[in-house]
């Protein structure tokens, strides 16, 4: 009954041809470039990426503001991040990403709050720079323990010609704290991806490089590393940090989940940058490599296979002590990981998954599914670049269906035909597929669960995939009196 690879490829090609029929010709031509079937041995997945979304097709993508404010900056917990412009953006973003932190919110920590200049018509007409200056004073008055401010531009800022850089420089001097202007207006670029890049650049220019000439604020050790690109969703970075510390490394900075200004500032002194979300933070590790000679290494903390591989890879940059530490950590956690697999694999063996997320997850989570005996039959990225699709070739099987910046229509049709056992995507997709009777897990927010990173996270991941797929509700979607 199971199809051969060639049959799968043919079916997937036919599927692509079929969904493209619904589009007007011009659009079909454009979308065709984003849909493909992975051919083993090819250097990428054969799809175009990082191109403007087509109007009216229901893209799942967000914007540069979401990439800068929502992803990169807002988790930096002891700075105040101002949503500069109208009220909506920050309202909708608030509390949505589950960037966990420890701190006294509203006193020394601010991530789950919404600070906005709440632009009115007069601000659009007369400009918002004076208001911005006043806002920074008011922040100082009410939040003396804040360590700095970032100004996250919403769409209107760049259109009305405000000079937020001038305001930032002036106010930084006055209050004696870091003030970072960020030009992440939502219309810039084609997705949240440019927002990540802009945010990386703003950290580089306003935080990292300016503090690089100063000696590190803590005593240096040979084992200083920085976690880059972990947003601590549901505690992911904590479940990762604990392993690194146990193997003998010292984590001097977390970018940016549960992160602080001090950590960003000292990262130019790290001995190694380890990067999880390559897409959103490769810019800064490349910069630190070029300017400060800091090597960087990608790792994957989803599922025991990749965790062990990653721990060894990270350890390979250090001496025997750390390498022994890595082996010790692996040996300590392997029995639990094995017990988790022994429990859940029989329930999940052979289950097929369709993935569509952003960042690193469309490839990174595949081995965790495979650890549980599951198979990824289709995957795609919201905002990948070609280097992501190159990296994806190490993860996907021959014949996997690939969709870049999938549209609502395509995703629904693909799932309807492939009928996977699980769809792993975002909140906008969740209820569509559940209505169709398909089990679903949110893979941005971990469906309000987590952590999923590290050995401790893998147990949660396995439990959650089981509860999603094997809940009795999916046997009840058809009334018994209906004929099949």
């Amino acid at each position: 009954m199971s199809l051969t690879v060639e049959q799968i490829k043919q079916r997937n090609q036919e599927l692509i041809t079929e969904v493209l029929k619904a589009y007007p010709e011009k659009t079909a031509k454009k979308r065709a470039k984003h849909l493909g079937v992975y051919e083993e041995g090819k250097p990428d997945c054969g799809v175009k990426s990082n191109i403007k979304s087509i109007p009216g097709v229901m893209t799942i993508r967000g914007c540069a503001y979401a990439g800068s404010f929502g992803v990169v900056w807002n988790p930096v917990k002891n700075m105040i991040h101002l949503s500069h412009g109208p009220v909506g953006c920050g309202r909708y973003n608030r509390g949505g990403r589950r960037n966990y932190y420890i701190g006294t919110t509203g006193v020394d920590t601010f991530t789950t709050m919404h600070f906005t200049s709440d632009f009115q018509e007069r601000d659009i007409v007369f400009g918002g720079d004076k208001k911005l200056a006043k806002i920074i004073d008011e922040m100082e008055m009410l939040f003396p323990l804040s360590q700095g401010v970032t100004i996250q531009s919403e769409c209107p800022i760049g259109l009305i010609g405000d000079d937020i850089e001038a305001v930032a420089k002036k106010k930084a001097k006055e209050i004696g704290k870091t003030v970072v202007p960020v030009r992440c207006e939502g219309f810039r670029g084609v997705s949240q991806s440019l927002g990540h890049h802009i945010a990386n650049d703003s950290i580089r220019d306003w935080v990292l490089d300016p503090s690089a000439s100063k000696p590190m604020d803590i005593q240096s050790t040979p084992y200083d590393v920085a976690i880059i690109g972990d947003y601590n969703i549901g505690g992911d970075a904590w479940a990762s940090r604990i392993l690194l510390e146990e193997m003998g490394l010292r984590v001097i900075a977390q970018w940016s989940g549960d992160g602080t200004l001090a950590e960003l500032e000292r990262t130019s002194k790290a001995k190694l940058n380890i990067i999880h979300c390559y897409r959103s933070m490769n810019y800064i590790v490349r910069h630190m490599e070029e300017k400060y000679g800091i090597p960087w290494v990608e790792y994957n903390f989803f599922g025991p296979t990749k965790i062990a591989e990653s721990l060894r890879k990270i350890a390979s940059f250090f001496d025997a002590k750390i390498q022994e530490g890595a082996e010790r950590v692996i040996a300590k956690y392997e029995p639990v990981a094995k017990a988790v697999i022994d429990k859940y694999r029989p329930r999940l063996e052979g289950k097929k998954v369709m993935i569509f997320v952003g960042g690193l997850r469309p490839r990174h989570v595949i081995p965790a599914f495979e650890d549980l005996g599951m198979e990824c039959i289709a995957t795609g990225y919201e905002f990948a670049h070609n280097d992501d699709y190159q990296r994806t070739t190490h993860y996907v099987k021959d014949g996997t269906l690939i969709y870049d910046d999938v549209t609502g229509y395509e995703f629904e049709k693909f799932a309807e035909k492939l009928m996977p056992d699980l769809v792993a995507s975002g909140i906008k997709e969740k209820y569509i597929f559940q209505k169709m009777g398909l089990p679903f897990r949110q893979m941005h927010s971990w469906d309000y669960s987590g952590p999923y990173h590290g050995y401790d996270g893998f147990a949660v991941f396995a439990r959650d995939m089981d509860l999603a797929i094997n809940n009795p509700v999916w046997n009840m979607t058809k009334a018994p009196w209906q004929t099949a």
Partner: protein
Amino acid sequence: MTQHTQNPTPQNPDQVLDHLNLFRHPDYVTLFKNKRCEFERAAPDEKVEEIREWTKTWDYREKNLSREALAINPDKACQPTGAIMAAVGFEGTLPFVHGSQGCVAYYRTYFNRHFKEPSSVVSTSMTEDAAVFGGLNNLVDGLANAYNLYQPKMIAVLTTCMAEVIGDDLNAFIKVAKDKGSVPHDFNTPFAHTPAFVGSHITGYDNMMKGILSYFWDGKAGTVPPLERKPTETINFIGGFDGYVVGNLREIKRIFSLFGAEAIILSDSSEVWDTPTDGQFRMYDGGTTVAETEAALNSKATLVMQEFGTEKTREYLMEKGQEVISFNYPIGVSATDEFLMAISRLTGKPIPKELEKERGRLVDAIADSVAHIHGKKFALSADPSMAYGLTRFLLELGAQPLHIMATNGNKEWEAKMKALLDSSPFGQGCHVWAGKDLWHMRSFLFTEPVDFLIGNCYCKYLERDTGTPLIRIGFPIFDRHHHHRFPTWGYQGGLNVLVRILDKIFDEMDRNTIGIATSDYSFDLIR
């Protein structure tokens, strides 16, 4: 730096710990402590505590209230979400947002998280080139794509602030798109400009409602002759922006049918935001038909449940010659009485006996329980009309609504609220806060505390900070499920709101008396 090799690993396949319990493990507790002490350059604990205490003071409150430029946790959203809520209540309608695409991702997410339902909205994905040259091409292509892919019966066009700042003209653009064949000339494309820097989500509801009505009644943007009003006995109903729209509209339809009244619900999203899980995804479901929308011009009157957030629509209806009767989110006995008497007057039909009995049951329920509510102090944050409706109900219950806040409330609202408070002995000494935000509310709750707070899920942070128990009523509610399926209107709705308030009061009583051998003498079986 620490080694965590002493303790056993926290996970165990028989009892997997997620974030709720995992991070209580001693290894994680140590990790947090070390990170803070060694790496975060954090202020000393005493300093944090000192500032935290200071934020509870009158001094801080005065500084907080002196803010002129910064909004902190404002309790409002921007126009497009309101416009989308109005639009999806019309049959087969796809909201189409002209502007940046990220906004649409946010709007959809906002509704997904509240209703736990799909939310289908498209955008024209305008980028930098569109900012320079205008978004005409995006709109032309976008309409063609949306029309072909999602086969709506109608596309309701609205704007993000980007399109508004560069001054794109929807009427002109849609005409061009039709000339270019994006959609057929006779395909319905009502529209509304919905700048995020004017008003709030309730303004967007108003603009889209007026946009849709005027599109159909005034000649579909100059393409057909305007409709001529031929008055009928039918009554229109407009609910306004409402997180309980699913439960409420069903209740309202039941009420109209008990009356035997001819009624047209303008924007009925009670189906599309409550679709079954039966193997089929319904992008569209139910909704006000075009025929009903057109016929609504002829109705003798329109009942509007929220005076605030329907200003332009109401004015337009009156210009058309309809009687417009406005309410402010009627909750409870007397507000529902007025609503029903208005239907009775308009239809000439008596109040149905069944509703009269329901009224008696609500009064019965209040009488049974009111001892627990009488004299309790409340604070609340809501959209202006809902704040009014809740306040009126609290006064009816003998509670004291000490702080009433609407971030999107204006001077008229403030005056109306004050008049309401003046009308009741329980309203004496209560405060109305128009235009304030939830960070102001934090100061109010510390300096002039209350027993309970009523608001949406964003208010949970106030519950944490101030210890004021939160009764979740409003929009959005992300962290409790299915409340939107139950009405807040009608006597039945009043009962739901009453029970929600009572449940929290009783839960608090139990929580406060659960101390073994210290307070559990009052941990009563019967309350």
